[in-house]
Amino acid sequence: MSYFGNIAKGIKTLLTGMSVTGNYFLHSRKGAITQQYPDNRETLKMFDRFRGEVVMPHDENNEHTCTGCQKCEIACPNGSIEIIWDRQLDPETGKKKKMIDKHIYHLGMCTMCGLCIEACPTDAILWAQNFENSVYDRSYLTKVLNKPGSKVKAGIED
């Protein structure tokens, strides 16, 4: 008799499983979890801490707060950040001051660990929430973060 008992028990467990999927089938309209990605660009907002890429915010006078201290360059585990700097004459004080020439960021090598942003003493670099970073050539992933002609905001010292 356990032979038939086993069959009945087996069929019962199969029906239990089918009830779960059947329930999802009946509620498929509202239950769908698909995100139709390129269509939902307007509503798709990344969280404000999302690590998309490193950017350097500039204000309306084309000024940033990067002093060229190179702490981010040292903190970076895989050499994604290169800073080219020289000492220029500060027009206000008349003293020579360390200024960045180029803040080069290799997005292609970046692992989004966030150590550079942690290390930055002046909050000159921040996370951007942009995540659509694909390009046709790897060289496009090397970015210069400071805009041309930008300079350090007055009074920022590290």
Binding site: V20, T21, K71, M112
Partner: protein, 373 residues
């Protein structure tokens, strides 16, 4: 004489099959060299190294802050716990007192990571034995956890939220509410997992008595995590060497004595319940305080050797640091749970069928980057 010739003609022949490195059941780039007789497996020999990045060598040139983010890339499904292991090792070596708040947050996120890892495992496990809907149910619940991580830590998978001395940022204001919502949601969905897969007679038949690992073998093979506990070997690091806030919570160590694939499966499902109970005990009492203590910009560990073990989602993760007093470790060894667990695959798969190999491999829950480091 004639009969012997006939039997010789029908002698079965063993043959080799390359399972992987591109194979749906090997979850990544694991390559198994199978010796098969018909459908019966005679020998399984893993061939590794397809994504070996030599993280241990990279660690030798990195500073201690930078090492943390490399551990994300080992067992990417329990990245937070891996981070925690390195941070704990460094903090213990420096003898820093970590604020209670940090400990509690680390534990909560660690347990969430465990649930996320197990839900993914559950989905993929179902797929390995042929039930395709489980995959989407598992991922649906995992996405909610990933959202929590993304909001607080900034990334969904490789979070790098820990730094030696604390956390990178404080938790997001929405964190507590989101976690509570998730727990409420998952409490209704986890029984569904059982209904869909666990009770199913085909599933039971596929898993019961398959890939049996005795307790002695489990210990000898260094099995840890759900694999060891499925064999009745009490190996939960959270119980025996409690770290962070785990000494303040009550939870049961999931143990089964059967040692077969079903036991390992049940251990993982029960662990999800236990992790939920741990989170529930902690989420309302996150103490106020700092989210990190200041450390030197250049961390130098004292001369000596430091070992820290934590319970990652797949088992015991050990971090063994040999320091000579400089800013880089002299030698850093990760004792990864997957590596030991993989070594017993040959032991449990021999004599089974190809389907059994897939089922027992799924319950070992192998993540290849964890093995290949």
């Amino acid at each position: 004489m004639e009969t012997t010739t006939i039997t010789n003609n029908f002698k079965s022949e063993e043959y080799f099959i390359n399972m992987g490195p591109q194979h749906p059941a090997t979850h990544g780039v694991l390559r198994l060299l199978l010796t098969i007789d018909g459908e019966i497996i005679k020998k399984v020999e893993p061939d590794l190294g397809y994504i070996h990045r030599s993280i241990e060598k990279m660690c030798e040139r990195d500073s201690y802050q930078q090492i943390v983010h490399l551990t994300d890339r080992m067992d990417y499904l329990s990245s937070h716990i891996n981070n925690e292991a390195v941070c704990l090792a460094v903090e213990n070596a420096l003898e820093i007192d970590i604020p209670e708040r940090v400990k509690v947050i680390r534990t909560i996120i660690g347990e969430l990571t465990r649930i996320a890892s197990h839900t993914l495992w559950w989905g993929v496990m179902g797929m390995d034995v042929g039930a395709l809907t489980t995959y989407f149910l598992g991922f649906r619940d995992r996405e909610l956890i990933n959202d929590i991580f993304e909001e607080t830590c900034g990334a969904r998978l490789t979070m790098n939220y820990n730094i030696p001395g604390g956390l990178m940022y404080d938790i997001h204001p929405n964190f507590i509410k989101r976690v509570k919502d998730f727990i409420a949601h998952f409490k209704t969905k986890l029984p569904e997992y059982d209904k869909l897969l666990t009770g199913n007679v085909i599933f039971q038949k596929r898993m019961k008595g398959v890939g049996i690992l005795t307790k002695e073998d489990a210990i000898s093979f260094g099995a840890s995590g759900p694999v060891g506990r499925g064999s009745g070997y009490s190996c939960d690091v959270r119980k025996h060497h409690a770290y962070s806030a785990l000494d303040k919570v009550n939870f049961k160590e999931a143990l089964r004595t059967e040692g077969d694939s079903l036991a390992r499966y049940e251990v993982r499902v029960q662990e999800m319940w236990e992790s939920m109970s741990i989170i529930e005990q902690l989420i309302d009492n996150i103490p106020e305080g700092d989210y990190k203590v200041a450390t030197n910009a250049v961390i130098k560990l004292p001369k000596g050797e430091f070992y820290q073990k934590v319970e990652a989602a797949r088992g015991e993760l050990g971090v063994y640091i040999v320091s000579t007093g400089t800013k880089n470790p002299y030698r850093l060894k990760f004792r990864s749970p997957g590596f030991s667990n993989l070594s017993l695959l040959n032991h449990i798969a021999v004599g089974g069928k190809i389907g059994d190999l897939v089922a027992s491999m799924a319950t070992l829950d192998i993540v290849v980057p964890d093995i290949d480091r």
